[in-house]
């Protein structure tokens, strides 16, 4: 499991993030480390940079981490969180341009097969134009 790319799901909604993680786990079991976070620092709709950082750290391995986001703010906050990581980790994190739910399932499936971070990214990003 620690040999596989990890998955972080960052939604504006905690429900969406948690439910997407459930769907991912149903598909890949514990072959892939998955962390979900959603909601602003007050728990309302939005995202939380500190929570994103913690989620990335919780699934980090040298294989890398693919971060799935929903809308603008989730992407910007995730990119910000990545910049706060140590430099050697930063290059091993990819914020994907892919739909959050469908992309997370595809990314995790590819990761479960031992795909590299680039392969995971490419597979998920095929879902976006």
């Amino acid at each position: 499991m620690s040999g596989n790319v990890g998955i972080v799901i960052v939604s504006h909604s905690k429900l969406v993030a948690d439910g997407t993680a459930d769907m991912v786990r149903e598909m890949v079991g514990d072959e892939v480390a998955v962390a979900a976070c959603g909601g602003n620092p007050d728990g309302g709709l939005g995202t939380d940079v500190a929570a994103i950082q913690a989620a990335i750290d919780s699934v980090y391995s040298p294989a890398g981490v693919a971060v799935l986001v929903d809308l603008g703010g989730a992407e910007t906050n995730s990119e910000m969180a990545v910049e706060f990581l140590d430099e050697d980790r930063r290059a091993r994190i990819a914020v994907l341009n892919a739909p959050i739910v469908e992309g997370a399932v595809m990314a995790a499936t590819e990761a479960a097969g031992g795909g590299s971070l680039d392969e995971v990214r490419a597979t998920a990003e095929e879902l976006s134009p």
Binding site: G44, G46, D48, V49, G73, N77
Partner: protein, 209 residues
């Protein structure tokens, strides 16, 4: 003296955001998700909470602390963007700017950080459509009396925010509305104008240039 000025700036800006949070939220309801007021208030309430710590810091560290607080607390796209504005300024800040030109350079460093964080530029109906003209006005203000310069900056901020009304948004949530984003002021442009005005109000009569 410096700490006092910084405290005044924090109070003035935070107060302006707090007093106008409902207005910002209303603007965001029209072309976004209606949280900009709440987001900004959450951010500046946290800055206010850290006020005593911040005013004890050297200028660069103070800007960094404000930027990080906004990044961590705002919760919307405006968080990392305004956060980057302050973090970008903090990186070039050595001592508080004593001329309009120095202030323009400082703000310019912040704007560059916003642009690279947001992958955005002017004309996209965002905060940048206020920040960039304000920087320009600052750069052109060196010949003016302080009072006149501040008056000018407030007018540019207000007019630039107004000028976002006929724009079509191409960045942020408002871009989802396509042409229907036309006819409304951008909430981030409005919050930028509020902040610029609040800074001018704080500097008024302080003899700052």
């Amino acid at each position: 003296m410096e700490a006092e000025m910084l405290g005044k700036l924090i109070d003035q800006v935070s107060g302006a955001i707090r007093d106008n949070a409902d207005d910002l939220t209303k603007l965001d309801q029209a072309i976004g998700d209606g949280d900009h007021g709440l987001n900004m208030k959450r951010g500046f309430d946290a800055v206010t909470e850290a006020r005593e710590e911040i005013i004890g810091l050297a200028p660069a560290a103070a800007l960094q602390k404000i930027g990080m607080t906004l990044v961590m607390k705002v919760g919307g796209a405006s968080g990392p963007l305004y956060g980057s504005l302050f973090l970008g300024m903090s990186k070039v800040m050595t001592e508080p700017p004593r001329t309009a030109g120095a202030a323009a350079d400082l703000l310019g460093a912040g704007i560059d950080a916003v642009m690279s964080r947001g992958k955005s530029t002017t004309g996209e109906k965002t905060m940048l459509d206020v920040l960039v003209p304000v920087r320009q006005a600052l750069a052109e203000a060196s010949g003016l009396e302080t009072k006149d310069a501040l008056e000018k900056l407030r007018a540019v901020a207000r007019d630039s925010a107004e000028a976002t009304i006929p724009m079509q948004a191409t960045k942020g949530r408002a871009s989802f509305l396509g042409e229907r984003s036309i006819g409304h002021m951008d909430p981030g442009a409005r919050s930028s104008a509020l902040m610029v005005t609040a800074v001018c109000d704080a500097l008024e009569g302080e003899g700052a240039r």
